[in-house]
Symmetry: C3
Subunit: 268 residues, 3 copies
């Protein structure tokens, strides 16, 4: 039988003892867990980036994987700790939207409120639920405890952590920047499902008066100095400069709005 | 039987081949070791930060865990390589204070000088004892070699790597900054054991003429723009600005002294 | 039987979902793989740094280890994906020089072009072969698939990713900076095999008119403010300032040339 896989996704960085404490807690309860870091470098408190990264990464993991997500600006406050089951995987994290994107694809899911202290550390601090609540819960799940023992099913709406582009005119949409990746590519929230026309119709994509109107199917095909748009492996529209950081060149940050315009109609 | 756990704590960063070389050495000797990174981003040569991070992280790991600590400005010089047994765990690292905090809690311990070259790599370089001494020693311990085979028991004092606050007047103490964490919280060396009165008595905590006099039991309860003091999950007094970096806002670095004053007495 | 070891070496950074997606793909195919990160912080597209880091790290891993190397500026273009067998280990990566250094030591090797789509993900994107080609190939190798099933043997030359120093006069060589390590040491491409005379003969090593002429066998032996040259644990000449960053002090970056001069002859 393969070892249970537990992933960790946080905004804790890797300089502090936080992540190691969570791993120690897991291994105390479930010594044969296989721990995999998704990332610990989510921008502090950035729920959209966490939701995006979780969705992109989790789809490549086997069924049965348990994901711990701790981007939790409201720790110690009123937000609820959750357990979500969907697509054969389990997710634990706070009820602040970080788990919202994995729920938006029509797959059946069940969400529970983590309320059974039997699965928490004996003492739950007010500042570090990753260690005291989410890590031990994940470890007990990895050991085979049934989800229905962790708390009641959540009914009613959950916070949404991820903005979708908004249509502002017949052929205009305003979107946002989810993240700047390691190569300086700008990842927008324009998804292939709704905006695949960009691959074939004339368009303009604008950030702070800087405009891209070229679609390139691969990074390599762009002339070196010419920024292009392409759908990255994540299925979101990315703006890219071949072998250089477009984000640095454009001085674009995650706060900037992104306007997408379709140009093949009169009102484009 | 669970796999032996070996953790790594260094100031090597994660850009170089150093950490991977240590892991390769371990896996060559003990192929079923489970390797867990505590962190490799201790500030270069910062023994207090390493000692603090080790103590905080190690307490969450199971008995039998072996910790490798390599923050070692004196590598190649006269300092001795050590093996410490305490609390059911094993620690290997240089005799420069990085192992001093785990020894300060009254738990029985035994410290040995690593002197048996049978457990080192055949060739020991002068610059990389992490790979040539500490990694192979940890791997042999993980395979079950008895600690007494590694070298003689150390008697006499060991360097101390960690300053405690100093009382400078009846109600004044001067402490220091152990580290700035990933969220910009300032972790001081005022521990809960000696300074829990901060939670209930009036106080002032000052860094470079900037003063905090509010205690908040949780990050969330502070008004967004008001810095507060709280005992973090580590048991040390932290100074914090809700959802913002206090260290950046105050331009506070680890060199700055911290003064704590108790205010409910005449001489406060 | 020990678990198969798969290492990962990329320029993806650790903020994005890229590395986790590769690990998920591996674990889907080979659930008992032991994953070890070499580094994900190769400077973007830096083939020399990747080739150097791979060679240094891989030598410490057991026989049978499978290394995935993804520093791949040409992804989606004409470069070929390769599988190299040498020294009892397996390496997968693009044909752009990242695998060139492991081949230069006279050890027998066999290189194949990865062309059998049976071992790729069903859909291969144009932008992320790390996930779609190299990760699944490594996982199938870890499960025991024979290398000859992955594609034909490569004949003819392969790109070279790593410059060797060039002799410019009887006692002058021009070399380059491979990388600046985490401590600010400057790692040059002058190797011990060809330049061991530096340890015993008078020399000058110059970067941007700043000169070192002292060799020190260990970091500790240098006076604190005096930069020295030494052969690091990697076997390359490193320029170092004890407990300080020489790279920061000299403002030296990887683009700078390095001149080495031998001084014990008339034309030195």
């Amino acid at each position: 039988m393969p070892k249970p896989i537990i992933t960790l996704l946080t905004d804790f960085g890797t300089r502090d003892y936080f992540v190691a404490a969570m791993k120690g807690v897991v291994l105390n309860i479930c010594p044969d867990a296989m721990l995999v870091d998704i990332t610990h470098e989510i921008a502090p408190f950035s729920i959209p980036e966490a939701a995006f990264t979780l969705t992109q990464a989790s789809r490549y993991f086997p069924k049965g994987t348990i994901h711990i997500v701790v981007v939790d600006p409201g720790v110690g406050g009123a937000r609820r700790p959750l357990l979500v089951q969907t697509g054969g995987q389990l997710f634990v994290g706070p009820d602040n939207g970080v788990l919202s994107l994995i729920l938006q694809d029509g797959t059946p899911s069940e969400t529970r409120v983590l309320s059974n202290p039997e699965f928490f550390l004996p003492e739950v601090s007010r500042t570090f639920h990753g260690r005291d609540v989410f890590a031990p819960v994940a470890a007990h799940l990895a050991r085979g405890a049934s989800p229905d023992r962790f708390g009641p099913v959540l009914t009613g709406p959950s916070p949404v952590g991820f903005d979708r582009p908004v249509q502002t005119a017949p052929n205009r949409w305003e979107g946002s920047i989810i993240k700047i990746d390691n190569f300086g590519n700008i990842v927008t929230n324009f998804d292939y499902e709704h905006f695949s026309w960009v691959t074939s119709a004339p368009f303009e994509c604008e950030i702070a008066q800087q405009i891209i109107s070229t679609y390139a199917p691969t990074y390599c095909e762009s002339a070196d100095s010419q920024p292009v748009a392409l759908f990255g492996s994540a299925g979101f529209l990315e703006l890219s400069l071949n072998r250089n950081s477009l984000a640095a060149s454009w001085k674009a940050g995650v706060k900037e709005p992104v306007e997408l315009r379709r140009q093949d109609t009169a009102d484009g």
